[in-house]
């Protein structure tokens, strides 16, 4: 229901000064059809279909604890999928997002451990490093005009190598030391990795963060000037600049937003697992991007929503864990995942086509 609340204003207020007038936003259509034409409605139906499917196929999914676990799995993907989606609406994308999460966690862990300082020092420095990486990515994309694919492919490789080499140099091993007995750890764990008992079900705090961040992102995208800028720079950079949108600022800040997300998820991982392995994170960037694309963000920029990727991430979590709840043959795990996702995307596409057909 929260979805319709977000969808309706979007229908009535075209976000940007002319990025696109295509997807059925013409006034004479019935409301239902106009709603269906919105990408997040398609993905919502896809997610609902996957959910119902597993509700039938996997009995444990019907229990609250299983749902909490599925939502947790979705949330760690979803928190990153949000800034990745905003960036994609702004016309760029970031291949370094997966390893950047680990960079952030490694920075916080090693800094606090090596200096034997309160872990909050590490947390704050990691935030600066993450924002710095985002800034550099964005700055290079804006300055060079090269595709962000190339720039962030470079930073992906750099970060992957730096993660390994610096960790080895500093700790002498390829994983960080356990910081769980250090000052401030308990506090930070409460903030980044707490869990609550709700009606006998253990619910992880990341689920709340995920939904709150999604609500904020939706509001920013649909109701603020900055949100209009995002659509504008993603739709047509030159005309956006011509009407006075600060293109460089918008793009760089979007990359920094991805850095912020990477920091947050990195801190969650650090304070959940106490140590970090330097080789992790590779391949995650594709999952974030997939969640955003399934959620209706175009790879070409200029279109999308913040609520769509929430369902995109949910679909990932649902399929990934649902297969296990169903107790299916594990050899088929990846194939199941692929088929379910493709199916969901096709439903999404079909819904949109049907709804926008005249």
């Amino acid at each position: 229901m929260s979805m319709t609340q977000h969808a309706e204003p979007a229908v009535t207020s075209p976000p940007a000064p002319g990025p696109k007038e295509t997807d059925g936003r013409t006034a004479e259509r019935p409301l239902a059809l106009r709603l269906l034409a919105r990408p997040e409605v398609g993905v919502f139906l896809g997610a609902a279909a996957v959910y119902v499917f597993f509700l039938i196929a996997a009995p444990p999914v019907r229990e609250g604890a299983a749902m909490a676990n599925i939502l947790y799995s979705s949330s760690t993907i979803g928190i990153m999928a949000l800034p990745v989606a905003l960036l994609m609406i702004g016309g760029e994308f970031d291949l370094s997002a997966g390893v950047a999460v680990i960079t952030s966690a490694l920075t916080a862990s090693m800094l606090s451990y090596q200096l034997t300082m309160n872990v909050w020092v590490g947390v704050v420095v990691a935030l600066l490093v993450s924002l710095g990486i985002g800034f550099l990515n964005g700055w290079m994309v804006v300055k060079t005009g090269l595709p962000s694919f190339l720039i962030t492919l470079g930073s992906f490789l750099i970060l992957q190598g730096v993660n390994l080499a610096v960790t080895k140099l500093v700790t002498g091993n390829v994983a960080t030391d356990d910081i769980s007995n250090m000052d401030g750890f308990g506090q930070a764990k409460k903030i980044f990795a707490a869990s609550f008992d709700i009606g006998g079900v253990d619910v992880k705090i990341t689920i709340f963060y995920w939904l709150v961040f999604a609500a904020i992102a939706s509001w920013v995208l649909l109701r603020t000037k900055y949100g209009n800028w995002i659509f504008a720079v993603g739709g047509n950079k030159d005309s956006a600049r011509a009407v006075g949108v600060p293109v460089a600022f918008t793009k760089i800040s979007l990359f920094m937003l991805v850095g912020l997300g990477a920091w947050f998820v990195g801190m969650h991982q650090l304070f959940t697992f106490n140590t970090v392995q330097s080789g992790e994170g590779v391949g995650q960037e594709l999952i974030y991007i997939s969640a955003a694309v399934i959620g209706g963000c175009l790879l070409t920029g200029g279109a999308g929503s913040a609520i769509g990727p929430v369902f995109g991430a949910f679909m990932f979590g649902m399929v990934q864990q649902g297969i296990v709840y169903a107790g299916w043959n594990p050899d088929w795990f990846k194939a199941f995942l692929g088929v379910m996702l493709l199916g969901a995307v096709l439903i999404n596409l079909w819904v949109q086509r049907t709804a926008t057909r005249r």
């Binding site: 799995s73 800094l111 451990y113 090596q114 420095v125 080895k168 959940t272 979590g317 795990f333």
Partner: protein
């Protein structure tokens, strides 16, 4: 005008922040407090140095970046190299074709010996032949127990993954387990598959395999939780790497399961968990020993013509069990990152 100054100060702010962060990080590196110094003081065994002529040995593995296991292999190899007056050239690539190129690279460097892992023996067959025709002795380590003789290697140091799995399966019988889930963190990896197959072979209860996405710990955690919820009769979770055992412990708590955890391979965090009793035991194949013996054996061959295992039998480095009874003896070495 107005906007440009506004956005400039906005642009400079993160830059200053990065510079400050870099300064802080540098300050961290030069600090003498904390764990780094302790690691340096105690890292590795030292046994003097041989006075034999300097030689060069290449160690080429199929390590994936950032794996704690291979780090220990490399440390063992380095310790032997330091002692034997050997220059160790380490290289690794999980892709078999690339690994074969790295062996060729070692041949081109005219090294005095090559130690190589045989995760995909067929892909390395040709290049090992080239090394032999260049009169460079080649030894195998870690994986390739069934192929090293066929490929004409001098000797082999490692563990039979199936045997290790079988040993773990027998141990589960002794512990009275009924149903085990074997967690594979890299779908399609032969060695990992063999371990689970070994467990299945000797364990009299039921063994189920579970694939997880090893590069994403939160999803590993959720997936194990999901499995434990789906099948409440599971009473043992078997992981194939130390970090995954620690994650499995958290999954147990999440799922409210009473199952126990056993694992392959060790690290310092894991020895702590065995002491506390949150992980029951680990099957250790002694990676340090594999690296050390492989390099040392090339020195022995060159300087005294020796063959470990007589050139007929492999030298087994595992499976060695680490549990509550012997963990104290192992823990201090694990803390150095050598066990």
């Amino acid at each position: 005008m107005d906007r440009s100054t506004y956005s400039r100060s906005r642009r400079m702010a993160p830059f200053v922040a990065v510079a400050a962060a870099a300064a802080l990080t540098l300050a961290g590196c030069s600090s003498s407090s904390g764990g780094k110094k302790a690691t340096e003081d105690s890292s590795g065994a030292s046994a003097g140095k041989a006075s034999t002529p300097r030689m060069t040995v290449a160690l080429v593995t199929h390590q994936a970046p950032g794996d704690t296991f291979w780090d220990i292999v490399r440390k063992g190899a380095q310790a032997a190299a330091d002692k034997d007056n050997i220059k160790l050239v380490y290289s690794a690539d999980p892709n078999a074709g690339n690994q074969s190129n790295l062996v060729q690279n070692a041949i081109d460097q005219k090294v005095d010996g090559i130690a190589v892992t045989l995760a995909k023996p067929d892909a390395l067959k040709d290049v090992i032949g080239k090394a032999k025709s260049a009169n460079i002795p080649v030894v195998g380590l870690n994986s390739g127990l069934s192929d090293w003789k066929k490929l004409g290697l001098l000797e082999f140091f490692g563990q039979d993954e199936t045997v290790a799995g079988e040993a773990l399966g027998k141990r589960l019988n002794a512990e009275g387990a009924k149903k085990a889930v074997c967690v594979i963190q890299e779908q399609g990896n032969i060695g990992l598959t063999q371990r689970c197959a070994g467990v299945k072979k000797t364990f009299t209860g039921t063994t189920e395999v579970l694939n997880v996405n090893g590069t994403d710990m939160p999803s590993v955690k959720s997936t194990i939780t999901a499995k434990l919820t789906q099948d409440k009769s599971i009473d043992y979770v078997v992981t194939l790497g130390a970090p995954f055992a620690m994650t499995a412990v958290q999954s147990l708590a999440d799922a409210g399961s009473k199952a126990k955890v056993a694992t392959f391979d060790l690290n310092s965090t894991l020895t702590g968990a065995i002491k506390k009793g949150t992980v029951q035991f680990a099957v250790d194949q002694q990676p340090y020993l594999q690296g050390y013996l492989a390099v040392d054996s090339l020195w022995l061959y060159k300087n005294n013509g020796n063959y470990s295992g007589g050139g007929e039998q492999p030298v087994l480095t595992g499976p060695a069990f680490v549990d509550k009874t012997n963990v104290d003896a192992v823990a201090k070495y694990a803390a150095n990152g050598t066990r």
